[in-house]
């Protein structure tokens, strides 16, 4: 009996041993031989991957030096339904109508009847608060998808400077377009094992966690009050004379910072579907080169003073006409003939005076190679006309200043350039170049970026000097005084008393199919302002145009300059003298 029992135990032990061996072999096969296959299968079932979206950087303007949010992000929700499982379709529609109102799709009730589908969007851009109210109703079959949208609390303000973000999340035009990568940031990644409800778990050793890098919060140099007033003054000025298009730049000549940049017509970035013409997206102050006209006479005079070619009291014989090669150049304003000073030439905006400066740069009677080379060096290299300024905005145009080495860069071309014809440049180039002329000869890189926000603190960027010897301090002072006289000599009582304001008119002919037309001119005004015997506080440039209208700088653009200038003196709290 004992022997029988031992035998049974041995048999059982052998069976168990064999079974264990089989298990071991099977486990070896599964865990070692087929490891990769089963690991892959397990991963595909358990591993989940989430994109951690980076938050787009917000944009601030300044309000007397204090950052103020101009473009924000708002969390919004898309409300969707699974019609197959929805139990109370009428209640869902009722709640969404009551809470989400205009965000509800007009055919939402019909969408819920599509019970053969599993996903129907009922409402978009639902705010966080609205989403919470809807969730409270515990409506079975509803889902919420989180998203972000740009919000523009100031509406149209500086819209062409800001640009906008398209449906794919990409910045277009303006700052949004130019600094898209910087504002976008970098999405993060979370890869980990998840449970059936997609809750990420810390199990496993192959988890990946790369945090998102949010976009840079950027502070603009735009002062929102100056911007708002500039836009208002431009709009009012245009409406007063019935002109259709206008642009304005307000700049700090001591730093190159753009304080305001306005264009009309304009648009509201939050109502893109209402924009009638995509041309409204363009910032014409940087992307639409034009013939600047007589504003450039300030540049020619500055060059003449700096090279020692002229002084403000240098004289020449004005006959209202001057010969350059085979062309006769005439003054727009005739009658101030005889021996007159360069100050007179600037006051009356006489083309003959500017051509005379060019001739004196040459051999006294001709615009020689030396005169053209010198002019190109001053206009293009020093005052940077016809070059990209590098401002942090999309679609900047370089314009064109013909070099003397070019076949078209002849004496006639350069005689025209002396009074602002024969070249295409942008308003920003003119404003920045003019700033360097009146600030003592330092060209600051025009910028729209004042700094960035870091942990809630404003970190300012320093102005960037491109060139410090554009013209001498003496030539700068003399030019400033000449431009001051050119304004106050004709218009004594338009500026607030006790300040030092100067400016120059410009009236440019318009080219149609390569030929100047007589029924359309562009009016511009370029000037500065500030306290007496103090560095200028601002440079303002105005440009207005309208199809079929002959507009003049002194009649149509100057009043807008004067309006903004007088307001700026008060806003900047500049103390008058005398």
């Amino acid at each position: 009996m004992q022997a029988y029992t031992n035998k049974r135990i041995r048999v059982l032990a052998i069976i168990v041993f064999v079974a264990v061996i089989l298990f071991v072999i099977r486990l070896f096969y599964i865990q070692i031989v087929r490891h990769d296959y089963y690991a892959l299968q397990a991963n595909s079932e358990q591993m989940r991957q989430w994109i951690l979206p980076a938050v787009r950087g917000e944009i601030y303007s300044l309000d007397r030096g204090k950052p103020q949010k101009l473009v924000l992000n708002e969390t919004v929700f898309t409300v969707w339904a699974d019609p197959k499982v929805v139990a109370e379709p009428d209640k869902i529609i009722d709640v969404l109508k009551r809470v989400a109102g205009g965000n509800l799709r007009s055919n939402a009730a019909d969408l819920l009847k599509k019970t053969d589908t599993r996903y129907q969007i009922l409402a978009t851009k639902v705010s966080s608060r609205q989403a919470q109210l809807i969730k409270k109703e515990k409506l079975y079959g509803l889902g919420f998808e989180r998203g972000e949208q740009r919000v523009y609390p100031e509406g149209e303000l500086a819209s062409q400077v800001l640009g906008f973000v398209d449906n794919n999340g990409n910045g277009q035009y303006g700052l949004e377009g130019a600094l898209n990568n910087q504002l976008t940031g970098k999405d993060g990644l979370l890869k980990t094992i998840a449970d059936v409800r997609d809750v990420p778990l810390t199990l496993g050793k192959d988890n990946v966690m790369v945090p998102a890098v949010n976009g840079q919060d950027t502070v603009l140099t735009i002062d929102r009050s100056i911007q708002a007033y500039t836009e208002k003054a431009l709009r009012d000025g245009l409406q007063k004379i019935g002109a259709k298009n206008g642009s304005a730049v307000v700049m700090d000549p001591q730093t190159g910072r753009v304080l305001a940049m306005a264009n009309y017509p304009t648009y509201d970035p939050s109502k893109l579907n209402e924009v009638e013409d995509v041309a409204y997206f363009n910032n014409n102050t940087i992307s639409k080169p034009y013939e600047p006209g007589s504003d450039i006479k300030t540049f020619t005079v500055a060059m003449g003073l700096d090279t020692g070619t002229i002084t403000p009291q240098s004289t020449y014989l004005n006959t209202d006409y001057i010969q350059v090669d085979d062309r006769t150049i005439a003054n727009a304003l005739k009658g101030h003939t005889g021996t007159i000073t360069m100050q007179d030439a600037l006051n009356y905006s006489l083309n003959t005076g500017m051509v005379t400066i060019m001739q004196r740069l040459g051999n006294g009677s001709q615009i020689t190679d030396k005169a053209r080379n010198t002019t190109y060096e001053y206009f293009h290299d020093r005052m940077r006309l016809g070059q990209l300024t590098g401002i942090e905005l999309a679609n900047e145009s370089a314009g064109t200043v013909i070099a003397p080495t070019d076949a078209e860069g002849n004496a006639v071309r350069y005689s025209n350039m002396s009074f602002g014809q024969g070249m295409d440049i942008t308003m920003l180039q003119v404003s920045a170049g003019f700033s360097s002329i009146i600030n003592g000869g330092t060209y600051y890189k025009p910028t729209i970026i004042a700094g960035k926000m870091q942990n809630g603190n404003f970190v300012a960027e320093q102005p960037s000097v491109i060139r410090s010897n554009v013209i001498s301090q003496t030539a700068s002072d003399q030019t400033r005084e000449m431009v001051h006289i050119a304004r106050t000599g004709f218009h004594r009582n338009i500026d607030t008393p006790g300040y030092y304001v100067g400016g120059k008119t410009g009236t440019s002919q318009t080219l149609v199919n390569g030929r100047y037309v007589n029924n359309e001119t562009i009016a511009t005004y370029l000037g500065f302002g500030g306290a007496i015997n103090q560095p200028s506080k601002y440079v303002i440039m105005i440009e207005i145009s309208s199809p079929g209208m002959n507009l003049e700088g002194s009649l149509h653009a100057m009043p807008i300059f004067t309006d903004i200038s007088n307001w700026m003196l008060g806003y900047m709290q500049i103390q008058p003298k005398g």
Binding site: L72, S128, R129, P153, E154, G155, L157, P200, Q575
Partner: protein, 116 residues
């Protein structure tokens, strides 16, 4: 009395503590066969395994708590962004210009500057 007892114990130990001499001999009344041993070992392994699993999955409990906190943070962040937007709209220039405070403002009749 305790001293005497200790003394006798030492005597006993010293007399018995010789090389290759069994001090204690114990035979259990319960006899365990090989199957019982196997089962006991299996049970011990199972218990240890369960303890390991309990500890290993304990971290998962924190994951759910962390998930709830993350959800709460996201909700609060979205509420914060909504409030910021509302604040920005209320402090926008147009809102300020259209406010009752602005409507009651009057232009200064005269401005005096302090000497610099």
């Amino acid at each position: 009395m305790p001293n005497r007892r200790n003394q006798s114990m030492r005597t006993f130990q010293s007399s018995r503590m010789n090389r290759n001499y069994n001090n204690v001999s114990y035979v259990s009344a319960v006899k365990l066969g090989p199957v019982t041993h196997t089962v006991l070992v299996a049970l011990m392994i199972t218990v240890l395994g369960l303890i390991y699993l309990t500890q290993a999955t304990k971290a998962t409990g924190y994951d759910y708590a962390a998930q709830e906190i993350d959800t709460k943070i996201a909700e609060l962040a979205s509420q914060k962004s909504s409030l910021e937007v509302e604040n920005a709209k209320l402090t926008a220039l147009k809102s300020a210009q259209n406010s009752s405070v602005a409507a009651n403002m009057v232009a200064p009749s005269d401005v005096q500057y302090l000497p610099q």
